[in-house]
């Protein structure tokens, strides 16, 4: 009997006899459902059709072929015997599948075997001793070169607009004393009374009896001045940013920072372990395209915390950040802004309230504002101001606040007095702005250098027009210029300094920090001197 196409065949050279017929019929029935061993020792055949030529009419020369074929079929039948009726997933199992499966197993076993490695012998104590003796560490520091021997000028009096170096009177453009508050009598008075009452140091971190009522008063005063809900004081200006940023930004967050930020911010960014993307210095188009790229390319960005970090007045270039545009971008792409107002607090804005007032942006739009007080406020330390929850969080999680002794109380009281003076004397700001304008007029046609800062910024930055190609050479040249300005013209100016840890690649130059205490003659003197030195050394 033959059944064609995917049906089980129980075909064998059997004679369907009357005796077997019933059994065969039953067998055929059961074939379709079960896998059962073949009843016939010869097995069942899976071919669609088999023709045995029994005809005696076959020619002799095909007999051999037929015999061969028969032999092959017999072998096939024999091998197929065990799986004659197996159908798995609609495919008939044939004998070669077993071979393939077996081969497959062998391959898997071989692949899973570890490659032969000679067994690792642990080092003996003697070998370790030898290795330790052989090892030669690098020296702790590289050899000292001549440029490292340069000594800074030593002041013999207060660092006001005029100071004394080596017994000579010198005009000081190197102190960030923007409003001329160094040496102000009210500040000195409040410091003296604080020293008599509290001594110098606070002898403890803020958490353990290092919080003195002056600190709390200072925080309240700053909040009132800037109209923010709360403020937290830090004991060191540079530590403010490097404690605040890691406090909020963690691994996995995205921070978009200006490439020209100062070292304190760079260190904070590094410690935060977030993904940092830099945009071109003070370039809003670059910022816009960076934000666009982040939000569109990476779909996960929407679930990550995103920050923009910028400085109000950049220490490395004197540029002023366009806060109104930054705020627009921030609102469009939903980022948070962390702004460092060290050089703009007490300086920008009609009443000195900083960049927000300068651009007419409400301060609530900036999420975190930090500032160092070692600039316009003529004291030390730093603060961070913002929403009450942000500030409260820092009191427990900011490492520079929790693990460090608090600000000496006399410096906090100096800060309070300085803010009072700024509030009561708006003419200081006017004078400072007038001085900046005068200095710009004097320096605009200097040869070999160009003014790279913003016309309203108190940091007047003269960058080198033609760089020698090597930053080290440029720095040495600028240092020479500053030394000569001091020796020949009794002027203290700042030449750019770079640590090898600093990643900022902005052009280097000479910085002049303008103060409200400078007179017109001082400004004229510095312009003349720099013009002369530039023409002598740079051309």
């Amino acid at each position: 009997m033959m059944i064609e196409n995917n049906l089980l065949i129980d075909f064998s050279i059997i004679k369907i006899t009357e005796k077997n017929s019933k059994a065969n019929l039953l067998h055929l029935h059961s074939c379709g459902q079960t896998i059962s061993p073949a009843p016939n020792p010869l097995g069942s055949v899976r071919t669609l059709s088999l023709h045995f030529a029994r005809s005696t009419e076959q020619k002799m020369d095909t007999n051999l072929v037929e015999m061969f074929r028969a032999g092959l079929n017999w072998v096939t039948m024999a091998l197929d015997a065990p799986s004659a009726r197996v159908v798995l997933f609609g495919v008939r199992i044939q004998w070669h599948i077993f071979v393939e499966v077996l081969l497959g197993f062998v391959i898997v076993i071989l692949l899973s075997q570890k490659s032969y490695k000679p067994p690792k012998r642990p080092l003996t104590e003697q070998e370790i001793d030898e290795l330790c003796d052989e090892w030669v560490p690098e020296p702790l520091i590289p050899p000292i070169t001549e440029d490292m021997m340069h000594e800074p000028p030593v002041l013999e009096s207060a660092a006001g607009p005029h100071t004394t170096v080596n017994g000579k009177d010198v005009v000081n453009f190197a102190s960030a004393n923007y409003l001329g508050l160094i040496g102000h009598e009210k500040l000195l008075e409040s410091c003296t009374s604080a020293l008599e009452k509290y001594g110098v140091g606070s002898c403890g971190p803020r958490g353990f009896y290092g919080t003195i009522d002056v600190h709390l008063d200072c925080e309240t005063r700053i909040s009132k001045f800037l109209s923010t809900p709360d403020t937290i004081l830090y004991s060191y200006g540079l530590s403010t940013m490097f404690s605040t940023i890691p406090c909020f930004c963690k691994k996995g967050d995205i921070i978009v920072a200006d490439e020209g930020v100062h070292w304190g911010i760079q260190n904070g960014l590094q410690l935060s372990r977030s993904t940092i993307v830099y945009f071109k210095h003070n370039d809003m188009d670059s910022l816009r395209s960076t934000l666009e790229k982040i939000m569109t390319k990476n779909k996960r960005s929407k679930n990550l915390r995103r920050y923009i970090v910028a400085e109000a007045v950049y220490q490395n270039s004197g540029q002023i950040a366009p806060l109104d545009e930054i705020v627009k971008l921030k609102e469009k792409y939903k980022f948070r802004v962390i702004l460092d107002e060290s050089n703009s607090f007490g300086v920008l804005g009609r009443s000195g309230r900083g960049l927000a007032e300068h651009h007419g942006v409400p301060i609530e739009k900036i999420d975190v504002v930090t500032a160092a007080m070692g600039h316009a406020l003529a004291t030390e330390g730093g603060f961070c101001t913002g929403n009450a929850r942000i500030i409260d969080y820092q009191r427990l999680s900011s490492s520079g606040y929790v693990f460090s002794a608090s600000l000496p109380p006399y410096l906090a009281s100096a800060a309070i007095t300085a803010i009072d003076v700024i509030d009561q004397n708006p003419e200081l700001l006017v004078k400072m702005k007038h001085n900046i304008a005068l200095l710009w007029k004097g320096l605009k046609d200097i040869k070999g250098m160009s003014l790279a800062s913003d016309p309203e910024s108190p940091i007047v930055f003269l960058k080198l027009e033609k760089s020698s190609g090597s930053t080290k050479e440029d720095l040495l040249l600028l240092e020479k210029m500053a030394d000569r300005a001091l020796k020949e013209d009794s002027l203290l100016v700042v030449s750019s300094k770079k640590s090898f840890l600093d990643k900022c690649r902005l052009p280097v130059g000479i910085k002049l920090l303008v103060s409200a205490g400078h007179s017109e003659s001082d400004l004229v003197k510095v312009s003349e001197s720099l013009k002369r030195l530039a023409s002598e050394l740079l051309l």
Partner: protein, 427 residues
């Protein structure tokens, strides 16, 4: 719980201070300050030598320098921030610590965080004690070097790690370590233990690793002339490559220093970001440090310095033995001026703290994350300005409170031994 921390004071952090009482607005976060003041005995400030308030020698000189140089220079050290006081301070510190030169910064925390990245970078190895301060951890992470921790104050484990690291690095990667710096502290602030410096220094010498010693708490307070743990344990300062310390504790000022060889300091002055970019230390604070060092060394013409050092030693030994007799469990280091009692969960300490406050004794209570979660403790800082009566009163209060809150874990010494407490052991 929040009441235990950040308690404001309204006077100098001297032996007794005025604590400001706070009103709690029914569980709200805001704590209003009231005008009420409570006079408390100060056992929480780091005022070890008693310079923390008006001092007859230091304060007039500080006020003089304030009038001459103003509160700040508003400039970094390399620009216009170096005054003659800064130069004098660095010479004074170097001489005091017995090293060739020193460099001073405006904040102790920043000193560690900014110096370590300058000294070591990628390809180097830092091995630091497991209980090192957060500033050291920050500095080590910021440097980019590999970090390994060794068991607290266990020189044998340090040796094992050194051997392992030097040998395996060379065999595995064929690129040996560039340099290895081992960082330890003189006195550990949360344990009160003194570092086993002689053993650690000898191990580091043998394996050619550099030693960085942080003497934040030990400088000015231990050793015969207050020169720190090297003097106390007889270690030659030439064997310690980098010595670091802070001025906010014994000298009651602010800032930190690094002392080392001439080349090291010259290199740091040229490359350390804190020196190049940060505002220099306030000149009056610098003057305070100079004056305090002069008093300690007796250069002011009196022996107040020696008296202060003797008194702090006396006070801490007396206090320690009394507490032990009372049955408190302490991590009490020999010859150390602060003591820790009762490692346990933080809660009984907090209850104890508020009770002590009512009885006018102020103690610092420490918990996670500064200490392990289940090992909260109370920390007592003894000062040279505490008198014997102050200490007796404190002991009474602590004993009563200890009974109330059940933190006396050991049985008290029998009464007959108490007769011996009047003899002070000068260790």
């Amino acid at each position: 719980m929040k009441d235990c921390f950040a308690r404001p004071i309204a006077s100098a952090p001297d032996a007794w201070f005025d604590m400001v009482e706070r009103d709690w607005n029914d569980g709200e976060k805001v704590r209003d300050r009231t005008t009420k003041r409570r006079r408390c005995l100060n056992l929480g400030s780091y005022n070890y030598l008693g310079f923390g308030s008006f001092d007859e020698y230091c304060t007039p000189r500080v006020i003089e320098s304030l009038k001459k140089f103003s509160a700040s220079t508003c400039s970094s050290r390399v620009d216009a921030g170096t005054t003659s006081v800064h130069v004098e301070l660095e010479e004074c510190v170097a001489k005091y610590v017995r090293k060739h030169s020193a460099i001073v910064f405006g904040m102790g925390y920043a000193t560690n965080s900014f110096i370590i990245p300058v000294l070591i970078g990628k390809g180097g190895l830092i091995i630091s004690d497991s209980l090192n301060h957060s500033s050291i951890i920050n500095g080590a992470r910021g440097s980019g070097a590999n970090i390994r921790i060794f068991q607290h104050n266990t020189p044998s484990h340090l040796e094992r790690i050194l051997r392992e690291e030097i040998a395996e690095r060379q065999t595995k990667t064929h690129k040996p370590w560039k340099k290895i710096i081992v960082i330890v502290e003189g006195i550990y602030s949360m344990e009160g233990e003194i570092c086993k410096l002689p053993e650690i220094v000898s191990i580091c010498k043998k394996y050619k690793a550099y030693v960085y010693l942080d003497e934040a708490h030990s400088i000015g307070a231990i050793g015969n002339t207050g020169r720190g743990v090297c003097e106390l344990l007889g270690v030659n300062t030439a064997d310690v490559d980098i010595m670091m310390g802070t001025f906010s504790k014994s000298f009651a000022s602010c800032g930190g220093y690094i002392a080392g060889s001439k080349e090291l300091i010259q290199y740091l002055k040229h490359h350390c970001p804190a020196h190049l970019y940060a505002t220099s230390i306030s000149t009056p604070s610098a003057q305070q440090i100079i004056s305090a060092i002069r008093v300690i060394l007796g250069e002011d013409g009196s022996n107040r310095g020696a008296q202060k050092l003797a008194r702090i030693r006396e006070n801490s030994n007396y206090f320690r033995s009394e507490l032990r007799n009372m049955g408190f469990k302490g991590m009490l280091a020999r010859k150390c001026k602060f003591l820790y009692q009762n490692e346990s969960h933080l809660l009984p300490h907090k209850r104890a703290n508020s009770k002590r406050n009512m009885k006018q004794v102020a103690i610092a209570v420490v918990g996670f994350p500064a200490t392990p979660l289940m090992l909260g403790r109370a920390r007592i800082c003894i000062s040279a300005s505490h008198s014997k009566q102050d200490l007796i009163k404190a002991l009474e209060v602590i004993s009563k409170v200890g009974d109330l809150t059940g933190i006396k874990y050991f049985p008290a010494a029998p009464k007959k031994q108490e007769a011996e407490k009047d003899t002070i052991k000068l260790v």
